[in-house]
C-alpha cells in the first residue's frame, strides 16, 4: 500500500476509534445507575465490535484485491445464511438453496476477480433469477410457490448481488484511464460514509430525536436523527473530496445520496425482521446482532454508488 491518502485515512479511523474507546471507558467509570449502565455496556460492546470490524476490513483491503473479494464473499455468505434462516422456505427448496449458497454466490464473486463486468451485472438478475424457480418447480410443490421463489431471489439479490458491488468498485481502476484514482480509495470512501452515516444517525437521534419517522417499522428512528445524520455524513464525505475523483460539491451530493440509501436499506431490513418477528438477524457480532444487521445500509447504497462511479469513469 503506497498511497499516502489512504494512510492518512487509516490514521484518522484509528484516532476516531481510540477517542470512542476512551469516551466509553470514562462513561464506564462514571455511570453507576443500573439502567444507564446497560446502555453504556452496550455502547462499549459496540465500540469493541467496531474495532474488530475495522481491523478486519483494513487488513483485508490492504492485503489486496483477492483478499478483499474473499472477505466480502464470506460476508455475503454469512448474511445470506442469516436471511435464509428467517425465511419460511419449503423442504422442496432445499436443493435450490444449496445452489444459491454454493454455486451462484461463489461464481458471482469469481466474476469480480475475473473483472468480467458484463456477466457480473446480469448473472444473478437474469440467470439465477430464472434458474431458482426452474430448480424448485421440478420438486412439484406448489404451496406458496411465488412467495418462496421471491424470498430466495430477494435474499440472493440483497445479500450477494448488492453487497458484491462494494468489492466490484476495485474493477473500476483497471481501466486505462489517465485520471483514474486508486479504486481502493473509492471503496474506503464509500464504506466510511455509509457506516459513519449509520453511527451519526444513531447519535443525532439519541441527542435530538423527537418526531418518529417510521413508527410502525423502526420506532427508534426519528426525523432529527435521519436529517442530522445524513447531513453530517455528507459533510464528512465532502471533507474527503480530495481523495476521490469527485469535485467538492459532487462528493457532498454523492455522500448525501448514499447515506440516504443507507437509511432506507436499514428500515427495509427492519421491516423484514419485524414481519418475521425477530429482533436481529443473528448474534455473531456482540452488540450489533448479525452480519446483516450491520451491512443492511451497505446493501442498498453499494449498487448505486458503484454505477455512479462507473459513469464517472467511462
Amino acid at each position: 500500500m503506497n498511497d499516502k491518502a489512504l494512510l492518512y485515512l487509516f490514521g484518522g479511523l484509528l484516532s476516531v476509534l481510540c477517542f470512542a474507546s476512551i469516551l466509553g471507558f470514562i462513561l464506564h467509570r462514571k455511570v453507576k445507575s443500573s439502567g444507564k449502565r446497560k446502555v453504556v455496556d452496550n455502547l462499549n460492546a459496540r465500540i469493541r465490535a467496531w474495532w474488530a470490524m475495522c481491523i478486519v476490513f483494513v487488513v483485508a483491503v490492504a492485503a489486496g484485491k483477492i483478499v478483499t473479494i474473499i472477505m466480502f464473499g464470506i460476508m455475503s455468505f454469512l448474511a445470506l445464511r442469516e436471511f435464509i434462516t428467517i425465511t419460511p422456505t419449503d423442504r422442496a427448496d432445499h436443493r435450490t438453496i444449496f445452489w444459491v449458497f454454493f454455486i451462484f454466490t461463489p461464481v458471482h464473486y469469481y466474476l469480480i476477480y475475473l473483472e468480467w463486468y458484463g456477466l457480473f451485472a446480469i448473472m444473478i438478475p437474469v440467470y439465477a433469477f430464472l434458474l431458482i424457480p426452474i430448480r424448485s418447480v421440478i420438486q412439484g410443490v406448489v404451496d406458496n410457490f411465488m412467495a418462496r421463489m421471491a424470498m430466495i431471489q430477494w435474499g440472493l439479490m440483497v445479500c450477494v448481488y448488492c453487497v458484491s458491488h462494494v468489492p466490484a468498485i476495485l474493477m473500476l481502476g483497471s481501466a486505462d484511464n489517465g485520471n483514474a484514482t486508486n479504486p481502493v480509495r473509492l471503496l474506503f470512501f464509500f464504506v466510511l460514509v455509509v457506516q459513519a452515516g449509520d453511527v451519526l444517525q444513531y447519535t443525532c437521534g439519541k441527542m435530538f430525536g423527537k418526531h418518529k419517522i417510521t413508527p410502525s417499522v423502526s420506532p427508534n428512528k426519528t426525523w432529527e436523527g435521519f436529517l442530522g445524520g445524513v447531513f453530517c455524513a455528507a459533510i464528512l464525505g465532502a471533507s474527503l473530496w480530495k481523495i476521490t475523483p469527485f469535485k467538492l460539491w459532487q462528493a457532498f451530493v454523492i455522500s448525501l445520496l448514499i447515506a440516504t440509501l443507507g437509511f432506507f436499506g436499514d428500515i427495509c431490513m427492519s421491516a423484514i425482521k419485524r414481519d418475521r418477528g425477530v429482533k436481529d438477524f443473528g448474534h455473531i457480532i456482540e452488540g450489533h446482532g448479525g452480519i446483516l444487521d450491520r451491512i443492511d445500509s451497505i446493501c442498498f447504497a453499494a449498487p448505486v454508488f458503484f454505477h455512479l462511479c462507473r459513469y464517472y469513469y467511462f
Binding site: 445464511r81 434462516t85 422456505t89 423442504r91 432445499h94 436443493r95 444449496f98 449458497f101
Partner: protein
C-alpha cells in the same frame, strides 16, 4: 476408546458447530459431572453430532449418542463418524429387522440392556426417544425405552434438549446439508419420580422438550 486424537475430535466438534451456525442455550450448569441422559427431538442425521458438539469439551469423552445401526453401520465413513468420533452406541431397530427368525422382544431388550450397562459403567447418553426422524418440525410420540432405563438407573438425570432448524439444515432424504443457523437448548434436568407410571414419565419428558420449543418461539 481413545483411538482418535483429541485435536481431531475438537476440530470435528468445532466444524459441526460452525457449519450448523449453532447457538447453545443452557438452563442448567452442564459442567457439573453427573451421569445424564440427554433426550432430544429428532429431525436430522446431524442431531447426535450437534448435541455432542454443543456440550462442554470435558463432557464429550463420556457422552455416547445412541444411534441406529442400520444407518450408521452402512459404510466406512458413517462408521468412522459414529464409532470413532462420536463413540456412539449402535442399536438394532426392531422395525429394520428383516430376518424373521430373530425375536423382536429379545432384540429390544438386548439393546436396552446395553444402554443400561453403558450408564452403569459411567457413560452419559444422547437418546432420541421418537426412535426415528420426523419429516417436519412436529415431535412424534416417544418410545418407552427411556422409562426402562430410568427404572434401572435411579440416580441418572434426564436433560431435555430442543434442537431447532436442523430439519432445514439436513432434512430427511437429502444428501447435502445447507449452512443455515440453528439453536440448541438444554433445559432443566429431571428424574423419575417415585411410583411414576410409564405413561406419565414419557409424557413429562415430551412436555419438557415442547416447553423449550414454545418458550423460545416468540
Amino acid at each position: 476408546m481413545l483411538a482418535i486424537s483429541k485435536s481431531v475430535s475438537k476440530l470435528f466438534a468445532y466444524f459441526t458447530r460452525v457449519f450448523c451456525g449453532a447457538t447453545v442455550y443452557c438452563q442448567t450448569d452442564l459442567t457439573v459431572d453427573v451421569r445424564r441422559i440427554y433426550i432430544a427431538n429428532h429431525t436430522s442425521h446431524l442431531d447426535a453430532a450437534i448435541i455432542w458438539a454443543s456440550l462442554p469439551e470435558e463432557l464429550r469423552n463420556t457422552v455416547r449418542p445412541v444411534a441406529a445401526k442400520d444407518y450408521w453401520d452402512r459404510n466406512s465413513i458413517r462408521r468412522y463418524i459414529a464409532c470413532k468420533l462420536l463413540n456412539a452406541l449402535l442399536l438394532v431397530r426392531p422395525s429394520k429387522i428383516q430376518n424373521k427368525d430373530i425375536s423382536l422382544r429379545e432384540t429390544i431388550f438386548e439393546g436396552l440392556n446395553g444402554l443400561v450397562d453403558a450408564v452403569n459403567e459411567g457413560s452419559s447418553l444422547i437418546i432420541f426417544p421418537e426412535g426415528t426422524r420426523s419429516a417436519n418440525e412436529e415431535i412424534q410420540g416417544f418410545k418407552s425405552g427411556i422409562f426402562y432405563i430410568a427404572e434401572r438407573c435411579a440416580e441418572v438425570e434426564f436433560v431435555p434438549v430442543y434442537i431447532n432448524n436442523l430439519n432445514r439444515i439436513f432434512p430427511k432424504g437429502e444428501i447435502l446439508p445447507l449452512p443455515l443457523l440453528s439453536r440448541i437448548q438444554f433445559g432443566e434436568p429431571f428424574k423419575l419420580n417415585d411410583g411414576e407410571k410409564r405413561r406419565e414419565f414419557i409424557k413429562r419428558a415430551k412436555d419438557n422438550i415442547l416447553r423449550l420449543r414454545d418458550g423460545c418461539d416468540e
